[in-house]
């Protein structure tokens, strides 16, 4: 029997596969396609201190083997998420991870505090890497000092393990990973989208109303694998890997690179059953490549 379960700080996962933040709303829609209790965990859409409407439309565009999005952190605010959304997910008895965003360190702290009171929420994912808002987000994600600072502040107020979500829009991913580990992060989430743009030839302007958007999907995978592989050599906290995963083979590639669990984003749009399909295939793929458990494969792609 191939063992799929994974133990991470705060997270007791029956399998390593969870939907990525922002690509799954708060689970309601996908719950019409399959039973959410099949999932290893659920990462919710970003929560900010107050409700946000986000950017103007168009908010998405297609790119070769990927897509751009500039949703702009639209969400009803942490309080409403806790009141209206978490209870729905709690029914499925699946660990919930809250994605925490903000424009200022104070806002991150405020949101983190709010989730102290949400029982089903087992961990925070600190989104310091959203490229689609004018303030906060990405700034924290490209400056190791700011990243460390917000990590420390959130750790100080939250009783939950904190996974810091890193941005690929950076030269030195290792420096960033080390900085947030030193600041007390319990884990890393890698990677968020890389900033891109598409220009509408007819309209003669950027296709997205926000001009730039975050590129996700299969095109991103080589960048994600590289960054996880590099970070894995320098930090010892667990890594939730993501970026272009659409098959169980992709999951194994992330495990070999050093991820301890994975998240699936864009693939949900292509195939609403992407997560359960991947979970179903994973044991066979692990077996095929000679592994008896998920944990067995973690980091095994590093040259000896």
């Amino acid at each position: 029997m191939t063992q799929l379960c994974v133990e991470l700080p705060g997270l007791n996962l029956k399998n390593p596969v969870m939907p990525a933040s922002g690509c799954f709303g708060f689970g309601r829609e996908y719950s019409e396609f399959y039973d959410l209790k099949k999932l290893g965990a659920v990462i919710m859409k970003a929560a900010t201190g107050d409700a946000r409407y986000g950017n103007k439309t168009p908010r998405v565009a297609e790119t070769p083997s990927g897509m751009l999005n500039a949703i702009g952190l639209q969400n009803p605010g942490a309080e409403k998420i806790i009141a209206n959304e978490v209870p729905f997910l709690a029914k499925y008895n699946v660990p919930v991870i809250a994605n925490v965003a903000g424009s200022t360190a104070d806002e991150y702290v405020k949101v983190a505090l709010a989730f102290n009171n949400a029982e089903a929420v087992k961990a925070l994912e600190l989104n310091i890497s959203c490229p689609n808002v004018t303030e906060g987000g990405i700034q924290f994600g490209t400056d190791p000092d700011m990243a460390a600072d917000v990590t420390e502040k959130v750790k100080a107020v939250s009783h939950l393990p904190v996974y810091v979500k890193l941005s690929p829009n950076i030269s030195d991913i290792v420096g960033m990973a080390k900085a947030v580990e030193a600041a007390g992060a319990d884990g890393l989430s890698m990677i968020n989208t890389i900033t891109g743009m598409q220009i509408n030839l007819t309209g003669r302007e950027p296709l997205l109303a926000n001009q730039t958007g975050g590129m996700s999907g299969r095109a991103l995978k080589p960048i994600a694998i590289r960054m996880i592989y590099e970070a894995r050599q320098y930090v010892s906290i667990p890594i939730i890997g993501m970026g272009g995963i659409s098959t169980a083979e992709d999951v194994l590639e992330f495990l070999l690179a050093g991820a301890n669990a994975v998240a699936v984003g864009t693939a949900n749009f292509q195939n609403p059953n992407a997560c359960p399909d991947i979970i179903e295939n994973l044991p066979y793929v692990l077996q095929q490549y000679g592994f008896t458990s998920v944990t067995d494969a973690v980091g095994k792609g590093h040259r000896r």
Binding site: E32, P76, F269, P272
Partner: protein, 250 residues
């Protein structure tokens, strides 16, 4: 449970310049679909699915028909499918048209690829004994499609931008001629919808909207439109694509 299911292409043909009519077989979708809903179709080699409205439902045959314009890579690929091939669809997606069966006459105002869902609706209205009139706008003569089919439903006015066929101008230019009606239904480009709504003032009406979609099921917030309702917005893919004319801010 919502479905992501395989549909089998039963026929495909070009009915006007770059306009394709495709029939797809799937028992479940043909049974469940109502006018105004759409299919979110997977196209090989593409990350995002393509939303296409349901233009006709043949419950008895277990098929539905879609009409689409070949404008980019996705619709080009779709148009290259042949009978017997299969295509993955999420659907029927979105909410269809609702209306009072008590009304006696309806006006359909469609522009370009906004026309297909109105045909589906028109057929159903006629079936319920409601009188139907239609104003259909096209860019130019060789893009005109389904004129006769609409004529079978009721008086139909064709308008082309360049006057190469029917009336010259915009759909709003013939609104006056179309006489009285209880309710209007409109689908087409945003500027067209805006002028229809402006022109028809406080006539009760229903519109169907388009936007670039991500998930197509309400999970990603790609397709929101401002509204005065709770939350301040509506999602086109799951709250719509059909809205009351005064429900959203265009």
């Amino acid at each position: 449970m919502k479905k992501c299911t395989e549909m089998i292409v039963t026929s495909v043909r070009e009915i006007a310049l770059d306009i394709f009519e495709m029939s797809l077989a799937n028992e479940y979708i043909a049974t469940a679909a109502v006018p105004g809903q759409f299919l979110h179709l997977f196209v090989d080699g593409h990350t995002l699915r393509r939303p296409i409205s349901i233009a006709e439902v043949a419950r008895d045959k277990g098929t539905i028909t879609i009409l689409f314009k070949r404008i980019g890579d996705g619709t080009k690929r779709l148009a290259s499918l042949e009978a017997g091939m299969s295509v993955s669809a999420i659907g029927p997606a979105g909410n269809g048209f609702t209306y009072k069966t008590s009304m006696s006459s309806a006006l359909l105002v469609g522009g370009g690829i906004g026309i297909p869902p109105l045909y589906c609706l028109g057929k159903e209205l006629r079936h319920s004994g409601i009188h139907v009139k239609a104003i259909l706008g096209f860019q130019t003569e060789n893009q005109v499609f389904y004129e006769e089919k609409f004529q079978e439903l009721g008086k139909t006015y064709i308008v082309t931008d360049d006057g190469s066929y029917g009336y010259q101008g915009l759909v709003t230019d013939v609104l006056d001629q179309s006489g009285k009606f209880d309710h209007y239904f409109s689908c087409g480009p945003i500027p067209m919808l805006q002028s229809v709504i402006n022109k028809l003032g406080d006539q009760s009406g229903t519109i169907s909207l388009e936007e670039r979609l991500g998930c197509g099921i309400g999970a990603c917030f790609a397709c929101v439109i401002p509204s005065d309702t709770e939350g301040g917005y509506r999602k086109i893919c799951s709250d719509g694509p059909v809205f009351a004319a005064n429900e959203v801010v265009l």
